[in-house]
Structures are given as structure tokens and as C-alpha cells.
């Protein structure tokens, strides 16, 4: 690697910084409102079309949701102006760390390490069809 390569690399890095700055200035991300139950169920149906949802818990900041579907927990979390979804065994969600109103769920996935859902209480005491927090 010669000097010209490092000069070019430094110039490219500077250009990247400028472009990211312009992207931040423009504020042209997708408009993503907070999740409500309707939106969460629509997202769950899109991400897990083969799964029936027994109950849904919506993060109080609208940035995520957790659903029970049989023996699985379906997790949705906001990533930038989009969402990512994963499924984990339900007992793994039940035993997730809950502290200061925040449920921190280990998704056991290198590409989606953790989801944080803000909830008033966890774990839930019972499940019925209309349970939604």
C-alpha cells in the first residue's frame, strides 16, 4: 500500500463523513410513528405470516412489541426507521431481565443481539385473548 492509497482513503473517509452529515441534515428518513396494537399486529402478521398471535404487549415508548404465539415469543424492535423481528422460545422471553420498567430480551442472534421493550410489569401473570398492555 503506497502513500497515494492512504491519501485516497483519507479523502474517501472525509467524503463519507460529509455525506452522512448531509443525510442527517436532510431528515428524510421514513416517518415511523410509535407502535400501537393495530400496527404491531399488522407487523407481526407481515413478519410471521404462519403464526397465530395469542397476546401482544406493546412497548410504552412504541419502539417495539412482544407477542406470545404458542410456545414462541415473537419480538419486534425498531431499528432506525425500520423494524427487525425475531422469534425465540417463550420461556426465554419470560425469564428475560426486567429492570426499571425495561425488559431486556436476549435474542441469541449475532445480527440481532438484544431487544429492549418498556413495560409496566413482567412476566405476565396470565394470558387471555384481549390482553394487551
Amino acid at each position: 500500500m503506497d502513500e497515494a492509497f492512504f491519501v485516497q482513503l483519507a479523502a474517501s473517509a472525509a467524503a463519507v463523513a460529509v455525506l452522512v452529515g448531509i443525510a442527517a441534515w436532510a431528515k428524510i428518513a421514513r416517518p415511523v410513528g410509535p407502535l400501537d396494537e393495530h400496527k404491531a399486529r399488522a407487523l407481526l402478521a407481515e413478519e410471521f405470516p404462519a403464526r397465530a398471535v395469542d397476546a401482544v404487549w406493546i412497548s410504552s415508548d412504541g419502539a417495539g412489541a412482544l407477542a406470545k404465539s404458542g410456545g414462541l415469543a415473537l419480538v419486534i424492535c425498531r431499528v432506525g426507521d425500520g423494524f427487525a423481528a425475531r422469534q425465540i422460545p417463550w420461556p426465554q422471553a419470560v425469564s428475560a431481565t426486567f429492570r426499571n420498567g425495561r425488559l431486556s430480551i436476549d435474542l441469541s442472534d449475532i445480527a440481532a443481539p438484544r431487544a429492549v421493550i418498556a413495560l409496566p410489569a413482567w412476566p405476565p401473570k396470565s394470558f387471555n385473548g384481549d390482553l394487551a398492555a
Partner: protein, 310 residues
């Protein structure tokens, strides 16, 4: 003067870099003032551009692997002598490289051992000009250059192939945009376009594993992988399982690590996890693109029947 058949006289990508920068700015500014359809999220843009920057470093560090193989085959085993100075040779390399790209790209989606590098390019939930620059850091390491050895075997000088690969990469840059809806019909019929490539980047089941073309979309039409963009099926971009992180190291290596974990956990099925399609699992607990498409195709007629009844 006889051109150097080994080392390319110029790099089309290097020449195009100022154009890349200016057009990203143009796309953002036009979108900012409502003159173009484009969405940018700053952290997503940072990852895309960071991957592009890193890929140029990776090319310098690891590019010699593929280059050495290509040169060795051309010097010792080429079947024909193809002159760089003949006009027909440039037409031939254009077609041969584009066909090679089609198969390289198709295998990069259909075999996990190559997907673990190519996945990076598809990991954004956005589709804009910065997405074009989200390039892998590890392409040289898993032998995804191997198909290009065939061009050396045929007798295309390495410099000629390198220039054509650069031209193809530059061509494929401008099609990463939502700002252009459709090109004229004759152009859409022959060439890869923003519309065709949006389909390729979409995660909707109907769009999965379609439109692998580099420059000429005719290869997809010929080999049965063409899918037009449907007005009633807006593209949703990204991966079947989207990333939940903007950590660029995780973005770059997540599929390598996941593949290694699968092999360590299930060594008897290592070949399946390496050479099977992405989503393959020994116990059927995951879904490949083919399985997702089949499930969606089964569900759709039922949905259509319900709609008709309503």
C-alpha cells in the same frame, strides 16, 4: 502501443467515485426538497458508506488471492488468444463478463458459502444510491471470484476482465434508486434498471431470489429468474430476517459467525450449512427462499378467495 494484458490501464470505479459522491448528494437534496422519491436514515447511510470504504481496503488486502488465480490460469492454461486491441473482443468480454456476473450473483444468493459475503449488500432496509456502495469486505476470502477464472481460461486477458468488471459495477450503481420509476419499455426489456433491481433487493416473498442481472436483464428472462416490479406489491427492502444493529462489524461478519456457529453445533451437517441455500437447516426449523415463496403462493389464493367473497 500494446496494452498491458495483466494490469488494467485504468479503474472505472476510481474514475466514477466523484460521480458517486455528487449523485448521492443530489439524491438527498432533491428528496429533501420533495423533488425526488428517496429515503435516507443517517445511521443506515453511515453503515452503507462505511462498508463501501472498508471494501476498498479489503480489496487491497485480499484482492491478490483472486487476481493471482486469474493471472495464473490465463498465463498457463488459456484456450484462445484474445487480443485487447480488437473491437470484437470488447463486445465479447462485455457479454461473457455479464453472463459470468449473472451466475456469480445467482450463486451468491443460492449457496450460503457465497451468501455469507453477499448478504452485506442486501442488509439495508433502504434502497438508495448509498445502498449501492454497501459492499462486502470478505468477497475475496470465500472464493466468490472463482467463476471469473473461466474467462481467463477462455483467453480474456485479466486486464480486460478487470476493466469490464469495473464498468459493470459502475453501471449497477445508478440502478439503486427509487427516484427513477420506469425507463422506456425497450430499455426495461433489455437492460437492468432501477425497477428490476428494486425487485432484487425486496424481501417480499414474490420478489425473493429474482433479477440477478448485472447490465443485461435478458439473462434473467433466459434462465427463468425474471420478475417485474408489481404496482400492487410495493417493495419492502432488506433481508428476510433484518438486522437489528448498526454495528458495522456485526453487519460485515454476522453471517460468517452464524455459519460458524451452525457448523460447530451440527458438524455432521456442515456441508449442508455451507453449500445449502441460505435458510437451510438440518431439522427443517428454518425457511429457505423457496420455502417462503411456496408458503406465500399457497396463502395467496386463499386470501384472494376471501377478498372475492367479501
Amino acid at each position: 502501443m500494446i496494452p498491458d494484458p495483466i494490469h488494467a490501464a485504468f479503474d472505472p470505479v476510481a474514475y466514477a467515485t466523484p460521480f458517486f459522491i455528487l449523485t448521492v448528494i443530489l439524491e438527498i437534496v432533491l428528496a429533501r426538497f420533495g423533488k425526488a422519491d428517496a429515503r435516507y436514515e443517517a445511521r443506515d447511510t453511515a453503515v452503507s458508506l462505511g462498508m463501501g470504504l472498508g471494501s476498498s481496503v479489503a480489496g487491497v488486502l485480499f484482492g491478490a488471492l483472486g487476481f493471482t488465480a486469474v493471472v495464473w490460469v490465463w498465463q498457463n492454461h488459456r484456450i484462445f488468444d484474445i487480443p485487447m486491441t480488437a473491437w470484437w473482443a470488447w463486445i465479447a468480454v462485455f457479454l461473457a463478463e455479464d453472463l459470468t456476473y449473472y451466475w456469480f450473483h445467482r450463486l451468491s444468493h443460492e449457496r450460503r458459502v457465497w451468501w455469507l459475503s453477499h448478504v452485506n449488500h442486501h442488509s439495508s432496509q433502504h434502497y438508495n444510491l448509498s445502498t449501492a456502495l454497501r459492499q462486502t469486505w470478505t468477497g475475496a476470502l470465500n472464493g466468490s471470484w472463482a467463476l471469473y477464472v473461466i474467462l481467463s481460461l477462455l483467453g480474456f486477458p485479466p486486464a480486460m476482465v478487470a476493466i469490464q468488471k469495473g464498468v459493470s459495477l459502475v453501471y449497477q450503481y445508478w440502478i439503486h434508486t427509487e427516484a427513477i420509476r420506469r425507463m422506456p419499455a425497450w430499455f426495461e426489456a433489455v437492460f437492468n434498471t432501477p425497477s428490476h433491481h428494486r425487485v432484487h433487493h425486496a424481501r417480499n416473498p414474490v420478489y425473493l431470489d429474482r433479477n440477478y442481472a448485472g447490465i443485461l436483464i435478458v439473462w434473467d428472462r433466459l434462465f427463468g429468474t425474471f420478475q417485474p416490479e408489481l404496482d400492487d406489491e410495493p417493495c419492502r427492502y432488506g433481508l428476510v430476517k433484518n438486522l437489528a444493529t448498526f454495528n458495522i462489524v456485526r453487519v460485515a461478519f454476522h453471517e460468517w459467525i452464524a455459519t460458524a456457529q451452525d457448523i460447530v453445533r451440527h458438524p455432521r451437517h456442515a456441508l449442508g450449512y455451507l453449500f445449502g441455500p441460505p435458510g437451510w437447516s438440518h431439522d427443517g426449523s428454518r425457511e429457505t427462499s423457496a420455502m417462503i415463496k411456496a408458503r406465500a403462493a399457497e396463502a395467496k389464493p386463499a386470501t384472494e378467495r376471501l377478498d372475492a367473497a367479501a
